[in-house]
Symmetry: C2
Subunit: 407 residues, 2 copies
Amino acid sequence: MTPDLTTPDGRTALAAVYRETLLGDVIPFWLRHGLDSQHGGYLTALARDGRVIDTDKSVWFQGRGAWTFATLYNTAGREPRWLDAAKTGIEFLRRHGTASNGKMYFTVTRDGRPLRMRRYVYSESFASIANAAYARAAADGRAAGDAVRHFETYLQYSFAPGKIPPKVSPETRPTVGIGSFMIGLATAQELRENLGDVTARGRTCTEWIDWFIDRIERLFVRPELQVVLETAGPNGEILDHFDGRLLNPGHTLEAAWFIMHEGKFRRDRRLIQLGLTMLDWMWDRGWDEEYGGLYYFRDLLGLPVQEYWHDMKFWWPHCEAIIATQLAWSLTGDARYARWHRQVHDWSFRHFADREFGEWYGYLHRDGRVSVTLKGNMWKGPFHLPRMLWYCWRLLDQHSEPAGPPC
Amino acid sequence: MTPDLTTPDGRTALAAVYRETLLGDVIPFWLRHGLDSQHGGYLTALARDGRVIDTDKSVWFQGRGAWTFATLYNTAGREPRWLDAAKTGIEFLRRHGTASNGKMYFTVTRDGRPLRMRRYVYSESFASIANAAYARAAADGRAAGDAVRHFETYLQYSFAPGKIPPKVSPETRPTVGIGSFMIGLATAQELRENLGDVTARGRTCTEWIDWFIDRIERLFVRPELQVVLETAGPNGEILDHFDGRLLNPGHTLEAAWFIMHEGKFRRDRRLIQLGLTMLDWMWDRGWDEEYGGLYYFRDLLGLPVQEYWHDMKFWWPHCEAIIATQLAWSLTGDARYARWHRQVHDWSFRHFADREFGEWYGYLHRDGRVSVTLKGNMWKGPFHLPRMLWYCWRLLDQHSEPAGPPC
């Protein structure tokens, strides 16, 4: 029986669920199985029981993991093993993360030799938030500088025209995706949180946040269709093709809580309402009324999606939805958000959690059966699940009474 | 009740099933819905009922479709509408297929403006077989020249070191994939079939076929593990990582029948046995004993596969398996192959066929339920299914008695 978000006792009990899952299950799983004592950094390709099934290393996850451990250290108690765990990721990134052209790799071997570099620069954004959190945890000046430097590389490649070779010809069909704006937004929020309102490429974090939210709102938020697009034309045009119609509800629920978080931080009712509206629309688009859980992809017009695995249930959209609904309830006290939060919390803990070996499965069939039993790979590691548990636990700690709109 | 492959009456009835599905269902579906009367070429992104859901054009399918229609014209009756249908694909490719650097696009808009070019060169191999079949159908000299020219581009990019930028650093982990060899093999077979044993980049088609089969056998066929690898090191090393362990049974069953076909053509018992062995191993690896049908991916060591949709059932591996098992039976008379043929034929016709609107669905869940109802997209169009129906129908026509080993 899930504790009730709308009562003080329920909130106390729910905070304990998140805290204990985080500190008694998920973090110990990664500390036990994911630290590479031989070469440093994190091994994320783990079987159900934590056994390493691929020694290749995700550069994304060296940053994401270091952020998780450093953030715990900064906010949840000064445990030396969390600082050590953050440090090994930071040091691996320093030694092996960046190519001679200044761009970071996507994967490297266990001992840090280059495997793949991709066009885009999410390795850089995750290295940035890792270094920002670690700079605060270890009072490490080099990390503070690296955090800004990686963010600047991210900004340069993501937003200077032509730096990333586009997949689709920009002469024939110019397109923009929401991803680089929302990840930019979260990166700037993390820099500000840990380093103060620092400047990157001539703008403060707050100015970048304003710019990202403005772009998200103008290009991807479409009131006439009650939808948040994933891909659009350069002026927010709907591209009536497979890719242009493709909606990713989990992704836009993540953007929604980043914006609600910003609204709460600034006590800005307009931003909070923007995030709530995005949540409302994309919950309706994404929730599977038949089997429960959130679809991975939907089509804007209800047409067949080209991605054949569109109806699978992935762990991370559910983590984002748990945060978004809980934050929405804490900001409004609206019973609907408490109901949605319980729906997605219950479905997720029932279907993703591995009661035998701990942590969560990542990939379920539409009906909730496990598709693949691994606990991590190049895209799943110590990030979305611990971030959700940490955020929701801390939010309940701060709000033993619902806050109502903060402004 | 599926007709019995092992009796003369059964074979006659089975030939009628394939012929009638091909000429009474599948080809009419594509002629009715897939021809672009406005701009020429083929529209393959079709909903269940044939409605166009994306007007973008796959360059692969301009070639694959033209091959299908020209091959029908060459082998199954001189129907002018088949020749016309082939011609529109060939003409679209001539006008819009190739960029100024000589490499072909992957997708273009309905009116032929460039959208995507990919690193690899399968557009070229499919344009080559299309032109070869069309050259024969229309006695068109330009098409004969284009067939060889596209094959030469394919060979140059696929096998001249460094022409295709590798995904994974070749210094850290050199890798080779079976795909370029098996598609090269089928392309050379089609050129020889339609143009005679022509020369490309200094070798005859037969010499290329020898070279491709030799490479497949030496790099990917691993008797000590009874497996055909999809990816290996440059000397056939097993790469014990997600990608190196990834098996694609449908792909290697396709390679198996290409090699059996070559053995039959040459009356070469060793080649036939090689193809049969590949079929035996990969049938065992791929067949789903619980739900029936062929898994898309398997792991060499039975570990979890990184691709979360690994257990889905796609139409094309089933088409390849129907051909491979029927050809194996026709070459050996071995009852096991007739049994496997019936298993995969029955499962496929029961689960993929759309009894209301015709043609086949492409993408099923493991248990055979339809995942997405579309009839075509950038990867599904008038090729695998009509090729299987055509090949199996013609094979039965030629073999009203089982042939036994042809040498």
